[in-house]
């Protein structure tokens, strides 16, 4: 059931800003409040905005179920992959082997209050991104399945 022209125009304008804000919350999870789940929920709100403003049949081939399911699985596998990489390097599962090491996110953190640097905290930003991808996929899948179940009834 399509909403009115005002709602659709508003959704078209707001949708990219919501996604950008969600990605910001995901990426800066180790410095400011937020992180994987919170940012993922914000990005899923953008998907919900589009699904509610337009009717389900029009959205069904833009936000597709298969792509969202694949996204959910890829997010989880990336998360566990970061843990298994720690096993391969030699520590126990989920050992933070990138912190203070000079590799990808490896700058050491000066102690005490400081203006935060994005390039710190090791495995944690990678896990934040993985959880963000997974939550985005998961919540979008829930919305799509619920709406497709209702729409088939015709009410």
């Amino acid at each position: 059931m399509r909403m009115s022209k005002i709602v659709r125009t508003g959704a078209n304008l707001l949708y990219p800003f919501v996604i950008i804000f969600g990605l910001y919350v995901i990426m800066h999870g180790h410095l400011t409040p937020g992180g994987g789940f919170q940012g993922g929920a914000v990005v899923a709100t953008a998907a919900a905005l589009v699904i509610v403003a337009y009717s389900y049949e029009e959205v069904a081939d833009i936000v597709r179920k298969v792509v969202m399911k694949a996204q959910e699985s890829i997010g989880l596998l990336l998360f566990i992959g970061a843990g298994i990489a720690a096993l391969i390097v030699g520590g126990p599962f989920f050992y933070n082997f990138l912190a203070n090491s000079g590799l990808l996110f490896g700058m050491p953190v000066p102690p005490g209050p400081n203006p935060g640097d994005l390039n710190t905290a090791g495995v944690i930003p990678i896990m934040n991104v993985a959880v963000g991808i997974e939550v985005w996929g998961g919540l979008a899948i829930i919305l799509l399945y619920m709406l497709s179940g209702l729409e088939k009834e015709g009410s």
């Binding site: 400011t32 203006p115 935060g116 179940g149």
Partner: protein, 114 residues
């Protein structure tokens, strides 16, 4: 007495949540009661970490005072995520029951007898 205000809110929300679950007849209202009960427990968990005069536990550009405990915040976050999954599953069950039984009044969806 003033510092116990969150705990009073926890008790009030718990009573409201349990009363909704027990007394209401519409299935969706029972699920809302479960959500209220969850909010009560999350509020209880966060209010355990408060230290008087503390600020939020973030090191970025923080002034040099004491901080509140961050561990209950992690516990509450996990609980909120579990609450989202629980609500999604309960609402999916409500949709299927409405399609097959025709009503979501809890007196009428009792086909499983002794």
């Amino acid at each position: 007495m003033f510092w116990n205000l969150p705990l009073f809110a926890v008790v009030a929300l718990t009573v409201v949540g349990l009363a909704t679950i027990v007394l209401k007849k519409n299935l969706i209202k029972v699920f809302l009661g479960i959500t209220i009960l969850e909010s009560a427990v999350n509020l209880f968990l966060i209010s355990l970490g408060y230290r008087e005069g503390g600020i939020a536990p973030i090191y970025t550009n923080a002034p040099a005072t004491a901080m509140v405990l961050p561990t209950p915040q992690a516990l509450t976050l996990t609980s909120i995520v579990i609450g989202v999954a629980t609500s999604a599953l309960l609402l999916s069950f409500a949709i299927i029951i409405w399609k097959r039984y025709g009503s979501i009044d809890i007196d009428k969806i009792r086909r499983l007898k002794e």
